[in-house]
């Protein structure tokens, strides 16, 4: 029926449809979701000539290997990603932040993200998706979003309902920078922790654990000691909240987080550092730096200006 589609030869580790996410559903237990790295998501859409809430494919570590069937289409990949394009017998090394054309029977093999977690694949057109609460964003734990709330699987078809006629190649000179210092505002339960542990929290290095996904990032390091109560009455959470359960290892809430939690909140990652935070791979070290609300707001303005500036360069 659909004449333009991708055939999935390999699905990758966690490839899902994402957009800007869903608003106003926390109160019924549905998180924000959406692309983890907002800047790279926006850049992918601009490189393929789309508006900023157009669904893309987000992949983690190893991405999908796709075979394209249909009329010529423009595609762009953002993040720090190694990939290859196969045209007939030619195997071409792909470049991020540069759109390219795929024609019938071409293959796109997204091999892996490099020292980062998430990458984005956007097309000059629209995937044929069923939205839920006006968003395609897939939350595989809650089975919400396009593709029946599931990640992409092998042999599946990804149908494309519309292709933009204007196939202009676009390019951006941009390199993702990495940060180890994550800036944090004190949490509402900061005083639940011993003086020594408060110092330790802002002084010591933590290691990102393997048990990290779109819901949360678990950290390992010196245990943080609670001197009041290891449980609080369950209350709302937002992305970026750092909770410390009884075992003393911090957990950072990420985009698919549970909407309510009962562990004390030691801190909250500032909005300006969220895109960089989610790209930290298991085994990386992370250090928290205390900051005040005014500075956090200014840093976000700067970060957002920088993103807008990059978008306008495309």
């Amino acid at each position: 029926m659909n004449k333009n589609y991708f055939e999935i030869l390999r699905a990758g580790i966690n490839s899902t449809f994402q957009d800007l996410g869903r608003n106003n559903l926390y109160h019924i237990g549905i998180p924000f979701s959406g692309a983890m790295d907002n800047r790279n998501y926006l850049l992918a859409n601009k490189l393929t000539g789309n508006d900023n809430n157009n669904p893309v494919i987000e992949f983690a570590y190893q991405g999908p290997h796709l075979k394209y069937h249909g009329n010529a289409i423009n595609v762009a990949i953002t993040g720090d990603v190694s990939f290859k394009i196969k045209k007939g017998n030619n195997l071409i090394d792909g470049e991020c932040y540069q759109s390219f054309i795929l024609e019938n029977n071409d293959e796109l093999d997204i091999i892996s993200t490099n020292k980062s977690v998430y990458g984005y694949l956007a097309i000059s057109g629209q995937f044929d998706l069923k939205l839920q609460w006006s968003s395609c964003s897939t939350n595989i734990k809650a089975k919400i979003g396009s593709n029946n709330g599931e990640k992409l699987s092998v042999n599946q078809k990804i149908n494309i309902k519309e292709i933009n006629q204007n196939l202009v190649n676009k390019k951006l000179n941009y390199i993702n920078t990495k940060i180890e210092n994550i800036r944090v505002l004190k949490g509402t339960n900061f005083d639940y922790f011993s003086e020594e542990s408060k110092k330790l929290f802002f002084g010591n290095e933590f290691k990102v654990s393997k048990l990290s996904d779109r819901m949360g990032m678990r950290l390992e390091g010196k245990k943080i000691e609670n001197i009041v109560d290891t449980n609080i009455r369950s209350e709302g959470l937002i992305k970026g909240v750092i909770q410390v359960p009884a075992d003393g290892n911090p957990i950072i809430m990420l985009s698919d987080h549970g909407t309510i939690g009962g562990y004390p909140k030691i801190g909250v990652v500032i909005s300006a550092d969220y895109d960089k935070l989610v790209q930290l791979t298991p085994g990386s070290t992370i250090k928290f730096q205390e900051i005040d609300l005014n500075s956090a707001e200014t840093l976000f303005k700067l970060y957002d200006l920088e993103t807008q500036n990059l978008i306008s360069q495309i």
């Binding site: 109160h27 937002i238 909250v268």
Partner: protein, 224 residues
């Protein structure tokens, strides 16, 4: 009333209604929640009411903490009793295969199984909040003698439909999820339906809930 408003990170207001958990305080939280929801304040993108807190998340591109705090400080709360309480009777089956922690509870509470169920089934519960996972209702209050702590090690998978108890609350796992509550039964009723976008949750804050014990046969035939 809100006792204190502080910031939770740079993109949320943390409204504290005090430390107590009572229906009266929770009703206040729900009134604020409904009033703010109706106001459609530019930049506000999520509201999370809980027992005695309300978190207001916002888009930092559109508004900031101080500006929004001023709006919330000055807000007039809808006082009328326009909050409608719906009543539900939830069927649950307590056969062995569903009541995963009843033996553990007998030990923890030093009570016989029959007494635990007797006390549980005669209660009318009040829904304080929904969340953690989509649609999960937090229902209170259990009688003092039924209050137990969470499992020492949470289960990796709690089956969909499980009814759990912890401290003064009961909840219902709307889908399979990790969790540490003491499981005493299972309902065949669908508590969360994502295909109903306008009202995916069966039970909402303020609603009243009782439970009815059903046989395994009734459980199995429930959807026929």
């Amino acid at each position: 009333m809100i006792k204190n408003i502080s910031n939770l990170g740079d993109a949320a207001l943390y409204c504290d209604f005090g430390n107590e958990i009572t229906k009266e305080i929770n009703t206040q939280v729900i009134r604020y929640f409904k009033t703010i929801q109706k106001k459609n304040i530019e930049g506000v993108n999520n509201l999370t009411p809980s027992y005695n807190k309300l978190i207001i998340s916002f888009d930092l591109k559109k508004i900031n903490f101080n500006k929004l705090k001023k709006i919330i400080d000055d807000i007039e709360i809808i006082k009328s009793d326009s909050i409608q309480n719906k009543k539900f009777e939830i069927p649950i089956c307590c056969e062995k295969e569903f009541s995963l922690d009843i033996k553990r509870l007998e030990e923890k509470l030093k009570m016989k199984e029959e007494k635990i169920y007797e006390s549980f089934f005669k209660k009318e519960f009040f829904c304080y909040m929904t969340g953690f996972i989509a649609g999960m209702p937090f229902l209170g209050d259990l009688d003092e003698n039924l209050r137990a702590k969470r499992l020492d090690t949470p289960r990796v998978k709690v089956p969909k439909g499980s009814i759990g108890l912890t401290e003064q609350f009961a909840n219902i796992y709307t889908f399979e999820s990790p969790g540490g509550w003491n499981i005493i039964g299972n309902t065949p009723l669908n508590i969360f339906d994502s295909s109903k976008e306008n009202e995916p949750n069966l039970i909402n804050p303020g609603d009243l809930v009782t439970f009815k014990r059903i046989t395994k046969e009734n459980y199995q035939n429930y959807h026929e």
